[in-house]
Amino acid sequence: MKKSILVMLCCCYLTLTGCWDRVEMQDLAIITAAAIDRLEDGKTRISVQLFIPRAITSGETGEDPSLGSTFVREATGENLANAISMLQMNVPRKLFWGQCKVFIFGIELAKNGIRKQIDYLIRHPGPRDNSFLYVSEDEAKELLTLVPPLERYSGEALKKLTQEEKGMGSTLRDVDKALMGESESVSIPYIQMLVSKEPTRKLHETIPVIEGMAIFKKEQMIGVLNKKETRGLLWLKDDMKRSTISIKLKDGDGEISMTPTSGKSKFSPEIKEHRWIMNLNITIEGDIVQNETHLDPMDKDVLLKIEKEYETALKERVAQTIEKLQQKFNADVMNFGRRFHQIYPNEWSKVKDRWDEKFPEVEVKIMVTAKVRRHGYIGPPAALPRDEVKE
């Protein structure tokens, strides 16, 4: 009897003290993406894309589909923390960061430095370390208002685009790690609005797409790699799954395109007589996907020629990117610094403080081995009379 009274008392104690962390799902404002901008007066503006829960189930309510299932709220403050606390005042429900996997920085903010924002995002327990960061070409907020025709909200579209090509995305942790590490540089996808040419769709019914890579050095954005150079960068990051490469043969009258099926980049740093050399070995295997020429890839010699040509093409492309990163940006996005550090810790400790000066001087030797594995369903070029095929 006494024991049961005790148990009752304990239960009452529990109920009286309440439940501090409890939030019902109806009281959550689920953030699907967030954009951080720097305003002209130096203030920070946070805009969040909030999910409207009833949008999924009630398809029959007759809401305008172009409004989408999200809406955008914003707030400004002296810094990000301030802005977010202001934002909470504009939203009647509790802001829920747990599912926000997309953070977009406005270009102004990126140019001014992102360290303070990164600190907030990593320190705060809400946002997750593996959420993706982006830099927008213009104001970041604009991208949140887009209503994608296929996905439920623009954040999801962006996330899926990035997941397609892993090397492209930069997560919060990657950025933190890279800026902390030897090179102090990082690349973040550079996105802009895709302009759709469909006359029936409204202007905002589109998605943001990745246009290149924003290069950051010591928290500040210093430039952008275009699409082609970004491909090169993906090779350097050991992730190139779907970038098709086209080459032109000397005796051919068109181009041959190949899609890589597997590829590997191997870095081996080397220090020879005070010359810092980075040997880059790329091996690639691929399928021929289009043949504009009259050449028959079934032929051994032709195949050899094609492979050779691929090697030079790829080499050029990668070299171009490295050249730009070394000379123009002087940003060690490929983590050369770390690789030297790992193999040559003593030499590294000498140049550690002036890696900036040393990095452009690093010689990069690129070796490419290309192999064509398959040429699709057909051997010789299609729709070409047999006698016109060159052997």
Binding site: E24, M25, I30, R54, E156
Partner: protein, 520 residues
């Protein structure tokens, strides 16, 4: 060492009870005078129209047969007893009783001399023959009463396995056991329990396999029981279990002779109670309550798979609603994005907090289940249809309950029926509610605390001296062979260790069948 908790018995109450039971006239010997004896019995059985007194004269001496209508075989009584006794043949006067005994064509005939044994004999259906001038009477074993025929057990069905089930009469049940285990080592000890019902309780065990102290302990505990009557094995169970406050059953009940025999062969003791088809098995462990007999009849892969499934669904039925409450109210980030969005949409507009919703729906489900069992079959199905419609369809459409909660409740419901033993299923159902409440206050940490509490409770529990969580938590030899997995029969060479490892070897080694062995 076997440690058995003894409940303090209150001396005062016991003494009082004894006093009431000792009716002085009961233990006294029969008198020589038939008149006195009949007088006593008729006053004892006054206002009992079903008790028949038949007086007659045998060899010049008066005699009376007393029996209860319906319990005794009157036809045999007429043909074999009365016809013989009323025959004009002379009985040997020197040893009258012996000559009567010799003359009667009845196999089971006993000499009795006290009133109380007479009463017992009459109550059991054996007519009592009183003869004038003797202090002794005969109990004639002409028991015959209506009993149910052996049927397939309703509560424990099986696809493969014997179709026999116990019935309400003890004699049939013990005979069923004897028919399976023919070794004379199978023992049956009888204890009577209940002041008014005088129910026969048989402790059966296999001598040489069972631990003697266990039998002594069971007898002690049975002898301690002082109640009016025993109507079902549950009465006995509640008086002899180790921890009466625990929600977990510490004895296993079954109405299948094959289950009983399997347990006997593993060195356990079985209590069979007159008047109920359910017999009790002791001691049991938590894991043995998840074994069904069919696990052993099917191939061991199936047995293992089904068992794994059972434990999985044990976890589901215990924790699913509480985990759902914890996740949706505390740890929303755990839900995958798409799922969270649909959950959020379906929760939109639901007026209750998740915890209230969960408790409400679980209670509704339990009510439905209970109603379905108790009502007559025709009405029962109607109840379930109405319940399913109201809860499943209307409540969601009205926006009172969210659809995911319905899914959760139904999965939990199904999961709770996965447990082969009804009694532990009940315990799990009940425990679900406090866990939901804890989850509502502390989220998953609360669920974990609940899990810890359950584990602690199970670790403290003992069933007749054996640890309830054995053999898993006690890490005995071969502890895996018959718990989560069911290893092949030819590999289970040892009996599960119960109290004081007694005769551990079950079968010969190297029994693995194979094509080469038979040819040798």
């Amino acid at each position: 060492m076997i440690r058995i908790r003894r409940r303090p018995s209150k001396k005062k109450a016991k003494g009082h009870f004894r006093a009431a039971q000792q009716n002085p006239s009961h233990n006294t010997l029969l008198s020589k005078n038939l008149e006195e004896n009949t007088q006593f019995f008729s006053s004892l059985y006054e206002e009992s129209s079903d008790v028949v007194f038949r007086s007659f004269v045998v060899g010049k001496k008066g005699a009376t047969i007393i029996y209860i209508e319906g319990l005794s075989d009157t036809q045999k009584l007429d043909e074999q007893v009365l016809e013989t006794l009323l025959d004009k043949n002379e009985f040997d006067e020197t040893d009258f009783l012996l000559s009567i005994k010799n003359r009667l064509p009845i196999s089971n005939i006993k000499k009795i001399s006290t009133f109380s044994t007479c009463i017992d004999s009459i109550a059991n259906g054996s007519p009592v023959l009183l003869i004038d001038g003797f202090e002794e009477a005969f109990s004639l074993g002409l028991v015959k009463f209506e009993k149910r025929s052996i049927e397939e057990p309703q509560a424990e069905g099986s696809i493969r396995g014997p179709r026999e089930g116990f019935t309400e009469s003890l004699g049939v049940n013990t005979s069923l056991l004897r028919r399976i285990i023919k070794d004379p080592a199978l023992k049956m000890k009888t204890v009577h329990v209940g002041k008014y019902t005088k129910t026969k309780v048989v402790i059966s065990y296999i001598k040489g396999l069972v631990d003697k102290t266990l039998i002594e302990e069971i007898e002690n505990r049975l002898n301690r029981i002082q109640i009016d009557g025993v109507l079902e094995s549950g009465y006995i169970e509640q008086f002899i279990e180790d921890n009466p406050y625990s929600p977990f059953p510490q004895l296993l009940y079954t109405e299948r002779p094959d289950v009983v025999c399997a347990n006997l062969l593993e060195g356990r003791a079985v209590l069979m109670i007159d008047g109920t088809p359910f017999s009790l098995v002791a001691p049991v462990s938590f894991f043995s309550l998840f074994q069904s007999q069919e696990d052993y009849y099917e191939r061991f892969w199936m047995g293992t798979f089904v068992r794994t499934l059972r434990f999985l669904f044990l976890a589901v039925s215990l924790f699913l609603p509480s985990v759902y409450v914890a996740i949706t109210t505390f740890h929303q980030e755990m839900v995958p994005t798409d799922l969270l969005l649909s959950l959020a949409s379906s929760r939109e507009g639901v007026p209750f907090p998740a915890i209230v919703e969960a408790i409400m729906m679980e209670i509704a489900f339990e009510a439905l289940r209970e109603a379905g069992i108790r009502l007559p079959k025709q009405v029962g199905s109607a109840v379930s249809i109405v319940g399913a419609l109201v809860i499943g369809q209307a409540a969601v459409q009205a926006g009172i309950v969210s659809a995911p909660m319905i899914i959760i409740v139904s999965i939990t419901g199904i999961a709770s029926f996965m447990v082969p033993r009804y009694s532990i299923g009940l315990a799990i159902r009940m425990l679900r509610f406090p866990i939901i409440i804890l989850a509502g206050f502390l989220g998953l940490v609360g669920v974990m605390l609940a899990l810890i509490l359950i584990i602690i409770h199970l670790s403290t529990l003992r069933s007749f001296g054996t640890p309830y969580l054995g053999p898993i938590s006690t890490q005995q030899k071969n502890w895996m062979q018959d718990t989560f997995i069911r290893s092949p029969l030819w590999k289970m060479n040892t009996r599960p260790r119960l109290t004081g490892e007694y005769n551990a070897v079950r079968q010969g080694a190297n029994l693995k069948p194979g094509p080469n062995k038979s040819g040798e």
